[in-house]
Assembly symmetry: C2
Homo-oligomer: 282 residues x 2
């Protein structure tokens, strides 16, 4: 594919930094501009080769770029885009890498000028670590990227963005923003809420008995609270609905336990085991 | 400590087999008798050195032993003990290694002859794998063993059993059977139910999006369904109560999500993170 001429990555953390490294390595960008709000992080991105130029000024950073990547936490997209807006080039493509879509996409689209094309993206990769120090050029290889075009996304822009992710080794899946959010609520956001809830449930007396099983089940609850607050807030309705479905399944377990219904308990467990074993094998 | 003269291990699987290996290695048993219901498993236990003698006959296996270990699944203790009962030597000590205590202890105690002493035990080790092939002489080293004496447990028998577990490298904690079950419901049984429930919640469309976080959170749901049915059944009341507490915490998350209360969501997540980080560090 024809490389991008000038790519601006706003937010040179784990995802933004890895994207810079991957685009350079694949020869998909002539110049990469890193934009951030901390000089030390930008200096590190430059030193690691994740950006060719760096700036603290969002408007200056996006000027003349044909691809602008929003790689800051989802909670800051509005602020970042408001500052970028006056400087965006006509015909530029804007993508985000946010982990929720419905509300975020609507919000970004309301700010995007008519002559700029927005292609919402969620590369599902490396959510646990943070910072450019953890960035890797192969972070995206083999992982899935969900792209959620809207009515205003042109086919040409969609194709070019999809081709870019595929060139970095990603499997691309097209979903509606709402389909994406329901799916991610089920496989990512709800497990996070459940893990945090499990941590809260144990009593003081039980603290010294936590073992490897508990550690696995609650691991994601050690994720950054502010980052996850933003993710949960931006997908609150879908997650609340998923929590309600989880409460329903837990109610079925609780009834089976109260009634000491061994057959029902076994079938609930056996179905979950069979399904998980099948999903993990893929 | 003075070694046991003759130790009978009923159920030479992962726990029973590892106990045989560990007792031999530590010189804590002159003769170990392995009892099982499949000749091939017994032959393997003998070949691995986890037992010196083997038999399919429970009564013949326990005769003349000063320590009898119930290491079959908790659901079969009544049947096993009914067969062993007529042959138990006066003064013998019986221990179990079951992962629940309240009901199991009451059940065993109702079957134990007056001249035999029962010391309920739960070595918290190696619940995921099964079979003597996975047995290891160091399975217990560094792990915790909960001992839950009853009114009928003599101090001398308790001391000797505690000393045995400690000689195998275990940290011993004394709890009431009910305290044990509440604790294990919180740190082990409830996470299992929650993991199985999380697997059931995801829709067909979401199946291809499961990632490492989902894999960690649901890992224990791949445990053996029959084994876990027995564990859940034998601690049903405490687990049902723990499920209810989990539902309460999930309700708090759901309300915060529905109200889009960012501060409340952050504090729920931050408290869980801080607590988990503290517990895991120990």
């Amino acid at each position: 594919m024809i490389p991008w001429n000038r790519v601006t990555i706003i937010g040179t953390g784990l995802i933004g930094g890895s994207l810079g490294l991957a685009l350079k390595k694949a020869g998909l960008a002539r110049t990469i501009v890193g934009v951030g709000h901390r000089q030390t992080s930008l200096d590190e991105a430059l030193a690691r080769g994740a950006a060719d130029e760096i700036t603290l000024d969002v408007a200056a950073g996006v000027r003349r770029s044909d691809l602008v990547v929003l790689a800051t936490p989802v909670g800051s997209f509005t602020e970042v885009l408001t500052r970028a807006k006056p400087a965006l080039a006509a015909g530029a493509i804007v993508i985000d890498v946010g982990s929720t879509k419905g509300e975020v996409v609507a919000e970004i689209e309301s700010l995007i000028p008519k002559e700029v094309i927005f292609v919402p993206c969620h590369p599902i990769a490396g959510s646990e670590q943070r910072g450019v120090a953890s960035a890797r050029e192969d972070l995206f290889r083999g992982a899935t990227c969900v792209v959620t075009p809207t009515d205003r996304t042109s086919v040409a822009a969609l194709d070019r963005v999809v081709a870019t992710w595929e060139a970095l080794g990603m499997k691309v899946r097209i979903l509606s923003p709402e389909g994406h959010d329901r799916t991610l609520a089920e496989v990512s956001h709800l497990p996070h809420v459940a893990a945090a809830a499990l941590v809260r449930v144990i009593g003081i007396d039980a603290e010294s008995f936590v073992g490897p099983g508990w550690g696995d089940t609650t691991r994601i609850a050690s994720g950054d609270a502010v980052l996850w607050r933003d993710i949960l807030m931006s997908n609150a309705e879908q997650i609340a609905a998923a929590v309600e479905r989880l409460q329903g399944v837990l109610a079925a377990f609780r009834v089976a336990l109260q009634q000491k219904d061994a057959g029902r308990i076994e079938s609930l467990l056996a179905e979950a085991k069979a399904r998980r074993d099948k999903l993990i094998k893929r």
